[in-house]
């Protein structure tokens, strides 16, 4: 197979998967009327925001050969932090910055622990998954944190729900996706992230500061998770320490469906975004078909397995 064709197939694979999923829900009579409409896609895009922003950070981590299981807890934690600050009278933008930084701080701790203790990221972040969930409940005194109102509440909606405008969260996701893609593909930092994931020993040998780099990757990804917490807060309009349980699996699945390899060195932002969309379309479509939630979970689980298997086939053909 000519290399350009192989590359096209590799990049178009997830996109093709998205088209198949969309087609699947466009055919049945129950959903045909409503599914393929602009407003439904507006809903789908809005529903993708939190997972997609998390997937941006996760793409960096997975490409570097790591994993972060504490995303869901971090999102809950930062949304509780945000709710408390707003309660105290903070404006939306100071609260936004504080939430991003608190997510970044959690990431910094993860990265530092991984680099300093030389333990595998899976274990460290499995630990922080519990630590952050507990901390969120502690901060919120084991209940949801409510506040009067805040402009943040409007960031996931549009003034007129039937207008064609998209909510701020969607635009932020789009902009960040482009920035992250450029960061990963066209900067020295990004090149080093790929090098670290492809072969850590080589990266070290070639003078890449691997320890510092790992800390930076987790901290930066943590900032993304903090931002995902902002939109979680915007959607719920309250800080809920029990929110986003299991969301780490959706986020990791998006990245993997998007073609990244769990062993590192491979992955694209575009792929991860399409992966996140596939998951959202599946959820949205299943709801409209009236399928029970357990059925959605089964389907999404199977899609992950199929996606990774198809990816292996593609890679095999390449080699």
């Amino acid at each position: 197979m000519p290399p350009s064709l192989a590359r096209l197939l590799r990049q178009a694979g997830p996109f093709f998967g998205l088209l198949v999923v969309i087609a699947l829900f466009s055919i049945p009579a129950e959903t045909r009327e409503f599914f393929l409409t602009y407003h439904n896609f507006k809903t789908i895009f809005t529903q993708t925001v939190i997972v997609a922003i998390g997937a941006l950070g996760m793409t960096m981590i997975i490409v570097s050969g790591g994993i972060d299981l504490s995303v869901g807890s971090s999102i809950a934690f930062t949304s509780v932090v945000g709710a408390l600050l707003i309660q105290k009278g903070w404006g939306p933008f100071p609260a936004l910055v504080a939430m991003i930084l608190s997510g970044g701080f959690v990431g910094l701790l993860n990265g530092a622990a991984i680099a300093a203790l030389r333990l595998v990221p899976f274990i460290i972040t499995l630990g922080t998954l519990g630590v952050m969930r507990g901390s969120a409940k502690w901060l919120g005194d084991n209940q949801t944190v409510n506040y009067e109102s805040s402009p943040i509440n409007t960031w996931m909606t549009t003034p007129d729900p039937f207008s064609y405008a998209l909510p701020a969260g969607v635009w932020v996701t789009l902009g960040l996706a482009i920035l992250t893609s450029v960061l990963l593909r066209h900067t020295v930092f990004g090149r080093h992230v790929f090098a670290l994931g492809s072969n850590e020993a080589t990266a070290r040998l070639c003078g890449v500061p691997t320890t510092r780099l790992k800390v930076m990757i987790y901290a930066l990804a943590g900032c993304f998770f903090g931002l995902a917490g902002v939109f979680q807060l915007a959607r719920l309009r309250q800080g809920d320490p029990t929110v986003a349980v299991g969301l780490e699996l959706d986020i990791i699945a998006s990245v993997i469906i998007g073609g990244a390899s769990l062993s590192g060195g491979v992955g694209t932002v575009l792929g991860s975004m399409i992966g996140a969309l596939i998951m959202a379309v599946l959820r949205n479509g299943s709801q409209q078909m009236g399928w029970p939630t357990y059925f959605q979970e089964i389907i999404i689980g199977l899609v992950i397995i199929v996606a990774v298997f198809v990816d292996r086939l593609r890679q095999g053909r390449q080699g």
Binding site: T187, V188, S198, N199, A201, T202, C206, V208
Partner: protein, 497 residues
Amino acid sequence: MTSAPALRLTGIAKAFGATRALKGVSFELAAGEVHALIGENGAGKSTLMKVLSGAHAPDAGSMELAGRPYAPSDPHDARLKGVAMIYQELNLALHLSAQENILLGAESARGGWIDHRASRARAREALAQLGHESLDLDRPVRAFSIAEQQVIEIARALLTNPRVLIMDEPTSSLTPADTERLFAAITRLRGQGVGIIYISHFLEECRRIADRYTVLKDGETVGSGPMPGASLDHIVTLMTGREVRELYPKSEHSLGPVVLEARELVSAPRLRRASLQVRAGEIVGLAGLIGAGRTELLRAVFALDACDAGAVIVSGGRPGAPTPRSRWAEGVGFLSENRKEEGLMLSQSLADNLTLTKASAFSRLGLISPRRQVAVAQRWIDALGVKCRDATQPIGQLSGGNQQKIALARLLEHPARIFLLDEPTRGIDVGSKAQIYRLIGDLARAGKAVVVVSSYLPELLGLCDTIGVMCRGELAAVRPRSAWTEAEIMRVATGAG
């Protein structure tokens, strides 16, 4: 010989898409014979071995095993029919014991319960065939040396009583002493009537152990004959299709000031004490047995491993604790002996591998220009004759020799002025070797300092100005090349001196 040969191949052909890896190979192996299979990388040896061991089915031609048609469906089937293969990369379960590894997949069992006594007896018997009956069967395999691990792997192959044993580069990571022990084991197996196909890049070794040779070039048999009395020059000419007169360059170069010095360097546990001076324009060789601390010396100098005592002084160096990053900045480059695990990012492109030490040199306003990276890589691809599709190809798809050229080009492009080369020619074909020797010669002439670690003594003696021999973690002797012979190096390396 009146009986049918152990193995006979006639007109074997195999193509992958448009690439004709084998174009018609004929080959005969007698029982109780060691047959060297020689050829450059890409000559078709690996494909032929995969056909023999059942991993690939041939497109044309026939195979006979002891006079009967032989068409294995997969490697397991081949093993049952009596063809066993020892790969260059060992296939052992490192956490399991020697005995468990030898019997893996062929355990003596009754109703699912392992029969410990019978297992033990069979493992012992296999080891005894190799002259290693005293090996500790209960020790986990990772606690053994590479040489012992290889013995364990061969013992496993012997369980099925193979008629044909294929060994791919069995000595590539062995010390001379271990090679001798392997040869003793091979001689025993030959005495028991096993036919052995011996694949190696070391021609002197082939000459010592083999009874006959066959040379492959571009997927065809280009020559075959009895090994005793065969001229190595003739074999090299067959392999390369050209005459290689001077493998080692006799380049005129003069020595400058000392640019690198290690003083009483210690890095526990392997490096116990080493002092070394390297001058500009000098090629210094480090000889010694595996585990003598040669690699550890280079790694300590390059700050990949921590030093417990002593100092490394690089001329014009920077103050502060050294790191690999600061070493590159000082113009010191390191080539790892372990291309796959440490040297290269196999899933990444040639261009990325080549420019990793100086990625920022290709960026403007923080953004990397892939076009400039590729242009630079293309220059080296042309200069070194690297066979590849283009500079964006993942480097894992290249042959060992071509990978090594890119790994070396990384140091050249950086550019380094002090080259630390650990086993620069391991596992690569003769043509690439000659080219790397020429490169090293050119570097010295240009006033660069080169330190070469090698287990292949003719290479050190042919290439270096100065040779240091390490023994048990200490740099025992550093002398000009003229003061050394192979025997003398071995005497010092084994601690007999």
